[in-house]
């Protein structure tokens, strides 16, 4: 469980996060909102790139903000980035094994854990292949394999299916849904694809201009008038009206 209280981030005159108080209980939780709502900033606070001006984050009863970044990774914070960051020069295996070797996990299980993570995300390729030779969807899966190898506790996925075609997005959703039961980790998914968020997340929270405007079961949140006005837009109202 991640408990965020009164989290405020300021960059000069801008306040990307403004007193956000929010709880992510378990499983896969969605975090949505328009561009500039503060989603990526929130991830950057969790992974330690941004120091908040105010607020606290308790992650499984530990004070996350007092840990330096590389310690957070060792503790079990994993993330993917909006722009995909699998390492081109290395093989698929090395990409994933690298996360394992910096996570304070026993060396003896590295090979098995790495291969398990690669097969968990459904990558049916030679693990020794260089990531530079892979397609967009496969690279995204390598990133997710990096996020789930070993013993992750908090997995942050920043638009993991951005730019992927429908079939691959569906597969990605399938993988994301299985992460909590595989590893017991809490997953936070940021995405603009509402079908992916609905398919993966039981609970979803919505940020707008750095403030929390809604949180609750995904289906309810997506019907919330404030959310529709701030983010989803009027087309979505028609769509929900049709499906309702």
């Amino acid at each position: 469980m991640i408990e965020v209280s009164e989290l405020t981030v300021r960059f000069g005159g801008v306040t990307p996060l403004d007193g956000v108080t929010l709880t992510f209980a378990e499983g896969t939780c969605g975090l949505i909102g328009p561009n500039g709502a503060g989603k990526s900033t929130f991830f950057n606070v969790l992974s330690g790139f941004v120091k908040p001006a105010r607020g606290k984050i308790k992650a499984f009863d530990e004070d996350l903000l007092s840990m330096p970044h590389f310690k957070r990774a060792r503790w079990g914070v994993r993330r993917t980035f909006q722009t995909e960051q699998a390492i081109e020069q290395l093989s698929v295996f090395d990409n994933v094994a690298m996360i394992h070797e910096h996570s304070a996990l026993p060396r003896t299980t590295r090979r098995a854990d790495t291969l398990e993570a690669i097969s968990f995300v459904g990558l049916d390729i030679d693990p020794d292949r260089s990531v530079g030779t892979l397609g967009a969807a496969e690279r995204r899966l390598v990133e997710v394999a990096r996020a789930v190898v070993g013993r992750p506790r908090l997995v942050l996925l920043d638009e993991p299916a951005a730019g992927l075609p429908e079939a691959e997005t569906a597969h990605m959703g399938d993988v994301i849904r299985r992460i909590p039961e595989k590893s017991g980790a809490l997953v936070i998914l940021v995405d603009h694809d509402m079908s992916l968020v609905s398919a993966c997340c039981g609970v979803t929270s919505v940020l707008d201009f750095g403030r929390l405007i809604a949180t609750g079961p995904t289906a309810e949140v997506l019907r919330n008038e404030n959310v529709i006005r701030a983010y989803l837009g009027t087309e979505m109202i028609d769509e929900t009206a049709v499906t309702a």
């Binding site: 790139f49 590389f70 990774a73 060792r74 914070v77 993330r79 980035f81 960051q85 390492i87 070797e101």
Partner: protein
């Protein structure tokens, strides 16, 4: 065991396994061929080359070996970690002087002196790398260039370790210094070339071992994106300094070989601009492949000697390297070591086609 028996490829269930085993066999064969070529080449360089070339080229080739080690270190910094240093030739100078002093002051065996000059230079060179923790790219290049300039200026103006006996060795400006000793098993020039090749092989193995293990993976992550490396739990400070330490260690060992090869060191032999030339040839050779360092060293140390022999001023090489670096960076970023096999294969296919289709009946309009 029945597992060694190749299963019938018509059995669909085993198809994938057969394909995999074929792949492994093929891969093994390719690796074997490559290993054989490398071993043959090394054996040629080690056994035959020093005896068949003239004394002039023996010395030139020893310089090539020395600079290949330095270029290898710079290649790791630039190609694997993404840190541009313009101070490596100055670090080589430090290594050469450290080794020279150790060789004069002590009677330690030569390999131990090489190791010690590597370690001492590693400490000094890592200091050169400290700014890299705060900056990258152009600014890091500028700072390292300034440090290189500082090192060469201090060496030149004080004329400090100018080769006298004892540990400090300062014997005035004009006295002819005594010759630096060589290992007893390699006192002749060809012998010292062989000795240097063996040391270089060890250094290349050291780098390969680094690249294939934890630091190599961490460096690749840092090079791709520092943010993602941090998120992966990599202590980026430690690994950047580690890369500088490795490059400086290599330059220190290379400096030890240079001291033995030249036998007399003069501060004016080490120019600040050598560091710039070194970066240019390293980029031309190729920074993503360890063999790029060999090509870089051939460019930097053999080409000037060849030009000298045929009566062309080696200063023209500055122009040539400039054009070469530009050409490589715009059309073949992985360097000559990557581009040449491709071009040769293309040329081979072209020639093959010319011979196979002499008649212009098909596609002749091209």
């Amino acid at each position: 065991m029945t597992a060694t028996k190749v299963p019938d490829s018509n059995v669909s269930g085993d198809g994938a396994r057969v394909a995999l085993s074929v792949q492994i066999q093929r891969l093994d064969r390719r690796t074997k061929i490559r290993a054989a070529v490398v071993i043959l080449l090394l054996a040629f360089c080690l056994l035959l080359l020093p005896s068949i070339i003239s004394g002039y080229y023996v010395i030139a080739m020893t310089q090539v070996v020395v600079y290949a080690i330095v270029a290898l270190g710079l290649g790791v910094l630039v190609g694997r970690v993404g840190l541009v240093s313009l101070g490596q030739a100055a670090v080589l100078a430090l290594g050469a002087w450290v080794a020279a002093r150790l060789l004069f002051a002590t009677s330690l065996p030569y390999p131990l002196v090489l190791l010690m000059s590597g370690v001492i230079t590693m400490v000094l060179g890592t200091l050169v790398g400290l700014p890299a923790l705060r900056m990258r790219g152009l600014y890091l290049a500028l700072i390292t260039l300034m440090l290189a300039g500082a090192i060469t200026t201090v060496l030149e103006t004080t004329n400090f370790p100018n080769g006298g006996n004892g540990f400090l060795g300062y014997n005035g400006a004009s006295v002819q210094p005594p010759a630096i000793r060589r290992p007893s098993i390699a006192t002749s020039d060809p012998g010292f070339l062989r000795y240097s090749i063996v040391v270089a092989i060890l250094m290349f193995l050291l780098v390969v071992w680094h690249l294939r293990s934890r630091p190599g993976r961490a460096w690749a992550a840092i090079r791709q994106s520092e943010a993602s490396a941090l998120a992966a739990g990599i202590n980026t400070t430690r690994y950047k300094l580690w890369a500088f330490a490795l490059a400086s260690f290599l330059a220190g060992v290379a400096g030890g070989l240079l001291a033995g090869s030249d036998r007399f060191l003069y501060s004016y032999d080490f120019q600040t601009q050598d560091s710039i030339t070194l970066l240019a040839v390293v980029l031309m050779g190729g920074v993503y492949n360890i063999w790029g360092a060999v090509i870089a060293a051939l460019f930097m140390q053999l080409l000037p000697q060849i030009l000298n022999q045929i009566g062309v001023s080696p200063y023209w090489l500055i122009v040539l390297f400039g054009i070469g670096a530009l050409q490589v960076l715009t059309t073949a970023p992985a360097g000559i070591v990557d581009q040449m096999p491709k071009d040769l294969a293309r040329l081979g296919r072209f020639i093959f086609r010319q011979f196979r289709r002499p008649a212009p009946s098909e596609g002749g309009a091209q």
